[in-house]
Symmetry: D2
Subunit: 340 residues, 4 copies
């Protein structure tokens, strides 16, 4: 932590600051330039940092406080430089494979889900996605089948052997959803729902943490740290687009986040080209781009009849489109040394 | 709802679309221009709209669907053109008064809260704020005193007569917090926590809904509609700054939102200059600007000793600063015809 | 300047860095923490800084470089703490007065401009605005009357005595526009047109520099520094809204920028509520808010018949609306101690 | 164009609007719903559109005006559905090839440029980049060698046979730069410098138009329309990252823009991974991602000694890194059917 003093900080103020720091047990380096005095603080214990930064920033004679270390540790690269590899009922995530999760936005019925599950499996997908509890901007929209949807997912999993991933939105549902799903999904709207993060952190099931639509990479990793801090290290990050001024697409897919996460964290990173674009016609290009940039996996919306989808029809691929995309993904994955 | 067809939509596709619309009971106006055919759909029932828009956008021969009506109704201006006025234990909110909520970010102890409560009351504040459950970007930061904090708030309220407002973050805590607080606060991070919105919607206590840091005004009103749709119309909106590329301030205070809410909704609108800036030195100017632009109230962080604040010290006002600000607010409120 | 080394930087690399810094004549403070080594560099000459920061950031063993001093000097607060006051043909700008510039977006004809000039003068405006060269997103829109428009402005100025402000967009037009106008306006789209900034910096006429719609406050001040670095210190800053994800308004008026500029710079700061909102109905509230937050002046679009305006009709006030607004501004200006 | 009336628009107002539209020669469809009346306007001549939209939006009884057609024509997909292919001194751009432009940010000396030109040619690059006129946020930074830099570029081009691309920033320099360069580059800061766009539109040399850092895809295409409207159709678009709230990277590379441009325009689209990230370590992943997503070319900063680069060192690749990247690009390009 570095503390930059105001140009008009007095001698007394500087002395008081140094005394305070020493009393807290920190080492101190004070460097008096012509225009500013800068205090280097050594040995800040990680856990106190947030509070300390705010404390020193509150002092009237402090211009700003600059943290030096990252505000996360368990999910940081240094914690496990070789990278995290998960095994979800035989499906490997991370470690040189490309994992494909596919399925409808929402579980609408047993028939449509089974039909989709069989098809995506045949095309090479590894995990089945489908929503039973659905967030929705409007209170009057469909919010999912709830536990009935979970049962249908389980059925489809039993028949096809595909593990499943489904979203949980309420701390009170974590236990219920956990009875059915193989992977919890935390949606973009709940990335800063800290109670929920802690609750899934208390389970020992893998969690896919989608990036908040207006969250920085650092905040995203701090959200992952919430989960890890409860003892659950089985975390998958998923870039799903962020909010910008652009209106042609639903979100802006932040491709930079893929290599950035690779250099900052040991966690696997996925892409969600469906939400990142909101437009079916753009999904293939974004999928291929994400694979070439190094993602560990994909999560893609597929529907037997997108025009009749209850939700997210405009961004869902038809079976035919998904089949073609899987064909196109293979050579790109190979070109960057990934096993599909 | 207006449906714009792709330039290459065939006659058959147009006929199919019109037939579909008529079968659903809608009136249809079809206008064939030189380059595009446009279909006006009349009589869309409000509740189906979200699903319908996605349905029609999913059709391969549809270029885009343009909603005409707002996606909220209960919180829309037309629902109650005269404006909503709340009465919280004798304190009027809306309707020409300027209501000031003040207090520390976090309840740290009974002493500091009482001291603050007495002071802000003396300076003319109407409601006491203070956090017992605190969201925090880092899992290692302080998260509030919990129920103990609620009890301290109640005590301070009993002594000073000030009603209280405090944040609730977890659906499981709504009942507990509701036993102590006069107003629920939903923080920016939970504006899209739809389970929580519904839960406070099921109570009959007033709710202050802060704007999500990356939420449009329309999404904010839809979040309010979640609460109202459960039967709770006692809602206060609060602009607390949005996220932009600017880094000098913690957020960007969106002043436009004040008159925009006034023309779109009947709900009272507050400003939170503390979070909107993140910098104590900017709080007075933003407070005065918000008052002149027409807010119904303010929520301001005040701390007996900001340098020792557990959280949000850099944006908290000292007693002296809050006293001076209240002095400065008075003539501006009068200049725009508000009673403080 | 502070240089943070990578955790794996070797002894030799550190030595090389320190030797390099000393050879350049800098003082050096090296602080070796448990996880990072941090090098404080003292005595960085202002002018070299940009290049140096990039140089050190390019080193493979450097994690990041943190500048300590602001990247502008002539326009910084410390350069003239008492604040800059301009005098434009008898009109004072800055120093406790509130200066109102008003007029149409575009000079459409001599009649409409004269009519507007007379009216805004009567209502108390101090300076007449009007565009002769107009930027336009579409190449097919109207681009202004050019020199004819300048002549009309001059005529209106002669008759009413109001000084004029008009935009210049091309380095080749600076001489021509300078023959007619009292103040150059640099539009938001040209805030980073550095050739143009230098060109108006070479004149000795006042320049209003609008903030780039996606420029930080720091970049804005650096753009002002371009003008000042040529010897022209007669600069007025103007906040006109920035670009965000919000779509209800044309831009987001960044109220925080008003007090922020006041603490960072000595230059007068204006607000443009017309462009900041893009909606006539929001202009009054933003105007009052800006005045209460401390602006030194306003620039407002007024048109005798907004429905017939060639450009910016939706955000232009009618005569009646402008008259009412001036009435409303007065008590707010007084409430914050400004002379109108 | 569709005009949505205010709910309280009177019969007379509606009649006046319809009469106005008919007098202008438009066809009109009027659809009266329960809550809104909507007027479809048919036959809007493209060129008048901007003005008309503003005109109708200015009417007090109009809620909003919705344009149906795109505000650009010459650069739109429909104008040349087969796509534009350029030939720059034997180098094909567009049409199934992947074109690589490489070189230093700035021409620093004849030696370094020649060394770089020879190396990038050997590695398979097709065009040499290098700045002679450099934009810079600070007035005190290096601004390029000017004409001397142009001469050095020409020399390197003569020796290696590589065509060159270099930036032009001032309308007054277009003639000069045009004497030396094969392709004009318009930088992100000048995307809305309309005078400059028109000036290069008046030449018959290819122009690379970088996206403005806060410009929508539609505005970018309108800027391209400026160039095309002067008769110069030899335009290359270049996505170089947009500005968001993310601070870890210099910009956010908008991958969605690649397929979006492919569906909206016939112009070739390039990626600039150097500026898109600002970090050398992220350049390879973004390059591969852009290629897989379908770009027609790349423009990459390469420097013989990035640590000594005058500008943009942190994002420049060393020779070794560029050589490795070209190796990695080849199989990805092949996987998506592009010839390198």
């Amino acid at each position: 932590m570095i503390i930059v003093l105001q140009p008009d900080a007095t001698e007394e103020q500087q002395e008081a600051l140094l005394a305070d720091l020493k009393a807290r047990g920190y080492g101190v380096h004070c460097s008096r330039g012509v225009e500013r005095t800068i205090v280097g603080v050594i040995g800040t214990p990680e856990r106190d940092k947030d509070g300390l930064i705010e404390h020193f920033e509150s002092l009237p004679y402090v211009e700003r406080v600059i943290p030096i270390l990252k505000p996360y540790k368990l999910v940081g690269k240094a914690f496990r430089p070789e990278g995290t590899v998960l095994n979800v009922r035989g499906v490997q995530i991370g470690g040189g494979t490309l994992c494909v999760m596919a399925g409808p936005c929402t579980v609408e019925s047993a028939e449509m889900l089974l039909e989709t599950a069989r098809f995506v499996k045949k095309m090479g997908a590894h995990i089945l996605r489908g929503g039973a509890f659905k967030p929705s901007t409007s209170p009057y929209s469909f919010h999912g089948l709830g536990e009935e949807g979970l049962k249908i997912l389980q059925e489809a999993s039993l028949e096809t052997g595909l593990p499943i991933i489904t979203e949980v939105m309420d701390t009170r549902d974590v236990e219920l959803v956990g009875r059915y799903t193989d992977i919890f999904q935390i949606g973009t709207r709940n990335m800063t729902n800290f109670s929920l993060l802690r609750e899934v952190g208390n389970t020992r099931k893998p969690v896919m943490l989608k990036r908040g639509w207006a969250s920085t990479i650092e905040e995203w990793l701090q959200a992952a740290e919430y989960i890890a801090s409860q003892g659950n290290y089985e975390i998958i990050l998923c870039e799903r687009g962020i909010r910008t001024f652009e209106t042609y697409t639903r979100n802006t897919f932040d491709l930079n986040a893929i290599p950035a996460i690779k250099e900052l964290s040991h966690l696997p990173i996925f892409a969600d080209p469906s939400h990142a674009t909101g437009k079916r016609s753009l999904v293939p290009a974004i999928t291929l781009g994400a694979v070439a940039a190094g993602v560990d996996g994909l999560i893609i919306e597929v529907h037997p009849n997108p025009e009749k989808a209850v939700k997210d029809g405009p961004q869902s691929l038809s079976f035919e489109q998904f089949g073609q995309l899987m064909q196109a993904v293979r050579p790109v994955a190979e070109a960057v040394g990934k096993r599909l």
